[in-house]
Symmetry: C2
Subunit: 629 residues, 2 copies
Amino acid sequence: MQFHHHGYVPTDPRLQTAAGAGLARPDEIPDEVDVLIVGAGPAGMLLAAQLAQFPTIVTRIVERRPGRLEIGQADGIQARTVETFQAFGFAERIAEEAYRISEVNFWAPDPAHPSRITRTARTDDDPAGLSEFPHLVVNQARVLDYLAEAASNAPARVSVDYGVEFVDLTVGADGAPVEVELREHDPAGVSRTRRIRARYVVGCDGARSRVRESIGRSYTGGAAMHAWGVMDVLAVTDFPDVRLKCAIQSQAGSILLIPREGGFLVRMYVDLGDVPAHDRGAVRSTPLADIVRRAQAILHPYTLDVRDVAWWSVYEVGHRVVDRFDDATEGEVRLPRVFICGDACHTHSAKAGQGMNVSMQDAFNLGWKLGSVLDGRAPASLLRTYSEERREVAVDLIEFDKQWSSLMAQGAEDADDPDTLATFYTSNAEFAAGFMTRYRPSMITGDDAHQHLAAGFPIGKRFRSAPVIRVADATPRQLGHHARADGRWRLYAFADRDGSALREWAGWLRDSADSPVRRTMRPDADLDRVFDVKVVFQQRHDDLGLLDAPAVFLPQVGPFGLTDYEKVYAADESADIFDLRTIDRSGVVVVVRPDQYVANVLPFSARDELSAFFAACLASATRRSPERE
Amino acid sequence: MQFHHHGYVPTDPRLQTAAGAGLARPDEIPDEVDVLIVGAGPAGMLLAAQLAQFPTIVTRIVERRPGRLEIGQADGIQARTVETFQAFGFAERIAEEAYRISEVNFWAPDPAHPSRITRTARTDDDPAGLSEFPHLVVNQARVLDYLAEAASNAPARVSVDYGVEFVDLTVGADGAPVEVELREHDPAGVSRTRRIRARYVVGCDGARSRVRESIGRSYTGGAAMHAWGVMDVLAVTDFPDVRLKCAIQSQAGSILLIPREGGFLVRMYVDLGDVPAHDRGAVRSTPLADIVRRAQAILHPYTLDVRDVAWWSVYEVGHRVVDRFDDATEGEVRLPRVFICGDACHTHSAKAGQGMNVSMQDAFNLGWKLGSVLDGRAPASLLRTYSEERREVAVDLIEFDKQWSSLMAQGAEDADDPDTLATFYTSNAEFAAGFMTRYRPSMITGDDAHQHLAAGFPIGKRFRSAPVIRVADATPRQLGHHARADGRWRLYAFADRDGSALREWAGWLRDSADSPVRRTMRPDADLDRVFDVKVVFQQRHDDLGLLDAPAVFLPQVGPFGLTDYEKVYAADESADIFDLRTIDRSGVVVVVRPDQYVANVLPFSARDELSAFFAACLASATRRSPERE
């Protein structure tokens, strides 16, 4: 955490200094905003937290609910999401209060006594050590709390406008703002209609999204529905794995059991079967008592004495995805002005624990793009990449969830192999943890021409952190954890053996007119406003002189022109990043997007390629409003 | 973190449910309180946070300052203190924003050019791996913020009464409350005198303590004073170790350089020399410019361009300790009613980074004792152990600080060995980290009759945590981190190989009339109100059945009678606690005090000894007011 460089900070350093739109934020939604976010669920809140990092942008987020979410809904937090939370500054805190999934156990009918369940497999949840972050379970309400804190602590001080309903929108002609109709409900029950203008609108308003409707997008995919009862219970049981995640298949049906945070609460997803086409929602009136009885039957011979029910629901889902995640047209005819994120784009079962995670990654993908365009550092064409990149992820997700759901539903006795479920779970661990997303080459993702120089950083996949030593204070650090969700690009220079190629490249980066850093630098701003440039040396940290690092890695920042010492790293002898990530020791530059995805891998000599890559996706600092292009 | 067992908690689980005194806490200080704490520095705030865990106790803390501390003062946080913060729930958060001391570097005159300093040694701050916690530097103001949060989140909801001055007190006859005169200053500048009664008063009011005066205690020790200039600066420098803790000795004097949190701020303690007897505080008018100039001369040939000064001060210190830390008389004549903690008891230099730490440990030692006595679970004679235990620690501290200060002051050229300072620092690492405190046998600390059964848990020293696997959720944990600063005693049962001796002991502990657990159990309270009883098995976690553990380790808690699953552990194969702490595999019980110190080590067979130990320091649950005894 870096602070004090603008002067001494006497309070919590997590409270960033207010700036721009955050200085005098009105309580009332203004008539004109830059971004209107509809819906304060995980996608909407993450987007708000991201945009709040851009002081120049006026962001408002409206939510139909009268106040904070208290209960229920999603709870699975995959490692990729915890990694994302780290960039927003609250991974440790949320992990501390969450349930941590360490193992997953599988139960099925005992072959000797098929009416009784027995444990068939015990599996490590992350056998390959995919991430330094854990797999967590914590209530969605707490996720929203932390994101709300991040949004309101950020320079633009964004907070939710509760009791405000989205009614409709009209996308104006080229460059004109989107006209939005809202309905504000005050606590006394009085409502009034508002019409505001927004440069961009983002619908994070769930499976029944009105924003989606208003831009005429619709689901494709099967209409087949499956029903589940879900309950969060405080119970006394002699089922020995009650504090472990379990997939339980019995002759009486199946349960996905998820222990919850705090050590006592347990969530059970109880399978209620396929919903007949003529059901018309009748399944949703299944009483709680039926769900409890069914759970008791499934757990036989173990007992389940439910003492308190914190929340329960019955829901039906199909597997569907929207054709496009924005209002743009194919080709170059019209750039997007309205976007949809999360459940508004894709629906599927809750049992793979993916929904909330993928939704937040949708928002993380979109957030920095909107911020960069509105801040004038990127062309508006960047916004087309959102739907292109995220729809493919959604399609993969639906496919995964279909397989997992049908395996869960078919029951152990139908499978050829009693370990089918366990095998599927283990072999898809990387997907389930959120690390299989790989974006295709585009204006923000390079091709694999130089991939071999850093094989451990696959282009298009998220930058996987590794241990290093920070030279200035000789402390072990995770290289990736220094990167915050601040909308900046990262250039990680892995030095050549003697540092000569590094030095030459660093000089070019700092001083050449072709350098992306120089080209995007504003005269009134610090060197590292758009790019965060770091170096990792091969030498031991105590063989290096901190101040011998090239100047681009020791920028002068803030009003006092103080040196930022936290960009110079050395390999950690006990876990050498050059070996761990298969980095060529003749030196390489790894380019990482603001959403932590590897954008390119280039040798120091490929200056023209580096310049050209950023010429396409970042505007020159002298051009003030590239988003009007 | 455990919660939800009294029903679903919809908000931050760190906010404990208010109870007792916390339910309707008045803004005004009431006429009668249980504990009045004078002074809201580190000792006072830690004591408040500890007492706030006891809902039945009315605690008030008064502070002369009109509001929160913003700047300056102590900043060193030794590993023992971080360990303590863990028990109060904020170790991770404060570590995240703190500077972490990894190495300490030593600089001295270059033998070839004595006017220039050169690096003479680079040392690891914790070469022996004394603790899983780091050594930190963070502003005292933030320490107070976190303690204030812990106090106001605790059941009794304690918060500071600012603008209230302690004037005087009178200790009444046996059993009568202490009469206290306070002066309340409101923000408008109006003052009024208040007289209140307190069962106990604790002076945490610093080196010029008026509480100390009011009980007639005074310092012993030398009157020799030494002066230091201290400044927190934002500066540009070419001194390469500016982000490492450094002891710098030069021909122009000496500096202790401490990098501060946030990556930019640096604290320098600049030696101003011994103060002549006739100085009468004149040294305190040394201007800032002189201190900066002296720092620049010491750092030669490196430059120091101070751009901003966040805080600075000049202070003089002697090495002094008070004869007793309470108002009791020797022998059994009068039990203590008034205590002093922290700087009120001991003063010394700031340079060993001990003051704030030892002060908080004073309070941690006293807090649970006051809480236990007022709650009726311990006899009032327990309170005599506070002064007995802590004064010895203070005497050791003064001795350590005298040596360190004189080594720092004498200059490298006077030492026989240029590495004297580095050698002293390294060989005293355990003391400096706060782990050398060892309490003598007393009513709360056993003798070493059975110490050999668990050599790695020395009786009288703090319980050193080690890795284990929690059986219920198969997660790796630190055994010690489950223990919160909740005033409870811990019994750690390390199981024998086949668990038969354990099982017999556990049955006795749960059911026998002689068992300390049974004897202190109130009919209306959970089994684990006074004792937190845990087991560690030698087997792998997946070879154990969670529900096969003896019932005392699976207590039913809260209104729903839910099972607490977090008391059953297994050794971690990759770091076996039985080996790490040299625990006899025939089984042993380790008794740990509420302030984390090992109180006793006993075999399972030593039931009588266990009963006798607690008969002396814990009251039977049927006796309601043992503190009147």
